[in-house]
């Protein structure tokens, strides 16, 4: 079966089993390895991509249902060479350790911050129920995300 997908603004073709999870299509066919294959159950968030603007676990979406959707992966964020404000905050706070969870963290938190810029620390932690990090212990990730909000506020 052949399918056409819109990935990061580009038309890409996939030939294969229609039930193939989007995660596998991204990694194996399109070689977009930023989304990570960690739990394949929808608990860890490392495979998170944006589908029509909504952060989604790509391990749980069959590619056949995504023909009319706009898919954005971590590779599609930011302008060539530049980090997004949230990515920059993570770098500035020295938050990254092994790095495998961060694409998913960026995907989830970018959308959350856009929708709830006034969120408290507790609300931000609740928003990360589906994003596991095994290395950092989370607090610095939250610090960095809060600093983005404060920077956006200061800019206004």
């Amino acid at each position: 079966m052949s399918l056409q997908l819109d990935v990061n603004g580009e038309d890409r073709m996939f030939y294969g089993d229609p039930m193939t999870p989007l995660l596998d299509v991204l990694r194996n066919t399109f070689l977009l390895t930023g989304a990570k294959d960690v739990c394949r159950e929808g608990f860890c968030g490392a495979c998170t991509v944006r589908i029509d603007g909504v952060p989604t676990m790509s391990c749980l979406r069959p590619v056949a249902l995504l023909q009319d959707s706009k898919i954005v992966t971590i590779e599609g964020l930011g302008i060539e060479g530049d980090l997004t404000p949230l990515q920059q905050a993570f770098e500035d706070h020295d938050a990254v350790q092994c790095g495998m969870c961060f694409p998913g963290m960026v995907m989830s938190l970018t959308e959350f911050l856009g929708r709830r810029p006034e969120a408290s620390r507790e609300e931000m932690k609740e928003a990360l129920v589906g994003n596991i990090c095994r290395c950092t212990g989370y607090e610095r990730i939250i610090d960095a995300a809060l600093s983005v909000r404060l920077a956006l506020e200061a800019a206004e």
Binding site: P18, R40, E41, G42, G45, P55, L60, A64
Partner: protein, 283 residues
């Protein structure tokens, strides 16, 4: 080189089209709504079926209508959509909590009402007890046409018939409600026990009628009729009623699981009853 597709997924054009497709393909076919359990099947070493009928292009299944007498929820409404649409409705607190707190944010945006009510092996589904205590009815379409049945009956339906749930209907009422769920972490894991309560009070403040549903304790969620009877005519006193609940635990055959055994699920039930009632008294 042509790659052999080992699965097929048919995107239904209408609900009756979905019913026909299911009927044609027989028991090897499965409905695909949110699909979270289907996509996990290989991991859980479950036998995978290979033909699916998807409901993703049927907007009529995503409609929520709120009227004075009832609420109609399309079977493909997601948890997130449900929580947002019913937020603030005084009689829907139990359902809003259930929809807003289950699983994690990304799953809530994909998992559907129909999926949550229909996945027989998932004993910890949040929406099931919440809708049971709201006396939900399920409407579905089959070869025989459109039928309705109470959710409680639907949960024990015989397998096999090609059925597509179209919507869930909830009667409105003056009752206040609350949902108390207990995961082992703060959140993110399936609750080991769930209590959903709706309480209607008399003019003098005493309980006129209570509907208590318990989930995750047994394989299938159900109503706690003995506690409901005991609550009738009592003051809305969370501690007192929790005490009565503690005497009625023998009603349940609690299930053992990897995360918790039956004794624990039972032991926490009175606490969950108390918490749900405390939430109601604060509304």
């Amino acid at each position: 080189m042509a790659i052999q597709a080992t699965s097929s997924i048919y995107i239904a054009k209408s609900v009756s089209d979905a019913v026909s497709a299911l009927t044609d393909q027989g028991p090897s076919a499965e409905l695909f709504a949110g699909g979270t359990w289907i996509m996990r099947a290989p991991l859980r070493q479950e036998k995978e079926r290979h033909s699916y009928v998807a409901l993703s292009k049927l907007p009529e299944l995503s409609v929520i209508t709120v009227s004075e007498n009832e609420i109609s929820i399309g079977s493909c409404v997601t948890h997130a959509e449900l929580a947002e649409a019913l937020d603030g409705l005084p009689d829907m607190h139990v359902l809003v909590t259930a929809a807003a707190k289950s699983a994690n944010p990304a799953i809530r945006r994909v998992a559907t009402v129909g999926g949550n009510l229909s996945t027989v092996k998932f004993s910890a589904a949040d929406l099931v007890p919440a809708m049971l205590c709201l006396e939900a009815e399920v409407e579905f379409m089959s070869e025989a046409g459109i039928e309705r049945m109470p959710l409680g009956d639907y949960l024990h339906r015989p397998a096999g018939a090609a059925r597509v749930m179209t919507r869930v209907i909830l009667p409105r009422s003056e009752a206040l409600s609350a949902h108390a769920r207990l995961p082992l972490r703060k959140a993110g894991d399936y609750p080991v026990a769930i209590v959903s309560i709706a309480v209607a009070r008399r003019a003098d403040g005493l309980i006129a009628a209570a509907r208590v549903a318990v989930g995750s304790v047994e394989n299938v969620a159900r109503r706690w009729q003995t506690l409901e009877s005991a609550m009738s005519g009592l003051a809305l006193d969370p501690h007192l009623i929790a005490g009565r609940a503690a005497e009625l635990l023998g009603d349940f055959r609690a299930r053992d699981g990897i995360e918790a055994d039956g004794w624990y699920r039972l032991k926490v039930l009175p606490t969950l009853v108390r918490r749900a009632l405390e939430t109601i008294t604060q509304q």
